[in-house]
């Protein structure tokens, strides 16, 4: 049921939206933990001269500075962009804005809910997610400058 090979674009959208939602949520949890470590906890804000914070900062930066985490961030960038824009498509669908109107059934006609407008937003979300990948690759690895 998870891999929707025989189903329509909307089912792919559903599967991607679920996977990206779960992964981005997990990322946010790890991100908060990592950022908390990065600043060394609340004590660094009131224990001058902040040597502990500086040492911790360098240690974590060294740990995170490798291609594996960079690729991970690029993937997260793709997921966040896709999830956000595709979520907008779903919100619009909740209000019936991007869908066709009910009518008499025409043989072989696609369902009105599979309207070209809402499908276009899906492809826009994919395109913006690809843009986010390019932007992330450039920001982290300078691919456009190379």
């Amino acid at each position: 049921m998870l891999f929707p090979s025989r189903y329509s674009l909307e089912r792919w959208s559903y599967t991607l939206q679920r996977i990206t939602g779960v992964v981005v949520t997990l990322y946010f949890v790890l991100h908060v933990i990592e950022t908390g470590n990065f600043v060394g906890g609340p004590s660094v804000w009131y224990v001058p001269p902040y040597d502990y914070a500086r040492a911790y900062y360098e240690e974590i930066r060294e740990f995170l500075h490798n291609p594996v985490f960079d690729v991970g961030l690029v993937i997260i960038g793709w997921m966040v962009a896709f999830h956000a824009v595709n979520g907008l498509r779903l919100t619009l669908a909740h209000f019936g804005i991007t869908l066709g109107r009910p009518s008499r059934v025409e043989p072989e006609a696609p369902p009105r809910s599979f309207s070209p407008f809402q499908r276009a937003i899906f492809w826009i979300s994919i395109a913006l997610a690809v843009f986010a990948v390019v932007y992330s690759l450039n920001a982290l690895m300078g691919v456009l400058a190379a």
Partner: protein
């Protein structure tokens, strides 16, 4: 297309305590043959113990729903020629198995009844002793006519990933029926109908996967009905 078609059929009798298995049958192809024709050939000439459910053989009763080559379809409505020489047949997902290709629709129909699939009217006396017809314009008819074509075959219900994850979800069929009556100008259920599904396990659980609309053999488009129900709730 001539020669033989290989049917790989799911076999399992839970009451016998046997393990589920797939059995291969070779069936001679003939022009115009449907998947149901092939299964009936197997039952009549190869293996009488195969359990299937069917009735009208013409896509009206909705009895012969099953998963054919990975998608829920009506066996009588699916031509062998559009599937090729290898056909895999399984029972409908999301419905409890009775035996082989026969599934239990008890939960499905109880959800159907729960949405009150009938006209709700305040004028009880007029219902008992009608004095006139309820006239409708073409525009009023078009608001719901599409959803009234549902034959309750359960294909949409078996294709829905939300029903798989949350069995309490009413499913696309019940929700499409609810919208069919909500949108009917003769119905006076109004907000009472929406309250039936405006909860944590109701319309808000739909994630618009659209599989229900894809597999519907009658073009009912339950995904559209569910989004329109949400719009009705959101717009008050």
């Amino acid at each position: 297309m001539e020669g033989k078609v290989v049917f790989t059929v799911f076999r399992h009798d839970p009451s016998a305590g046997e393990r589920p298995r797939f059995v291969r049958y070779e069936v001679p192809y003939r022009s115009g043959m449907t998947v149901l024709d092939g299964l009936l050939y197997i039952k009549e000439r190869i293996d009488h113990t195969l359990a299937i459910r069917y009735s009208c053989r013409m896509g009206i009763c909705g009895s012969c729903g099953m998963k054919v080559n990975g998608l829920p379809r009506l066996a009588c409505f699916t031509q062998v020629s559009e599937l090729g020489r290898s056909i895999k047949v399984e029972p409908l997902p999301n419905h409890p198995l009775v035996r082989d290709l026969v599934t239990d629709f008890t939960a499905f129909f109880s959800k159907h009844r729960a949405v009150k699939p009938w006209l709700i009217r305040k004028d009880a006396e007029e219902q008992e002793n009608p004095t006139r017809q309820y006239l409708q314009s073409d525009q009023e008819l078009e608001r719901y006519i599409q959803f009234s074509y549902c034959i309750s075959c359960g294909l949409c219900y078996s294709a829905c990933p939300v029903v798989t994850a949350l069995p309490e979800f009413p499913g696309p069929q019940a929700l499409a029926w609810l919208y069919r009556f909500y949108a009917d100008s003769r119905d006076q259920g109004g907000r009472e109908r929406l309250r039936l599904v405006d909860d944590a396990t109701g319309i808000w659980r739909c994630h618009f996967a659209g599989s229900c609309s894809q597999v519907c053999p009658k073009g009912v488009d339950p995904a559209l009905a569910i989004q329109l129900l949400r719009r009705a709730v959101l717009r008050g």
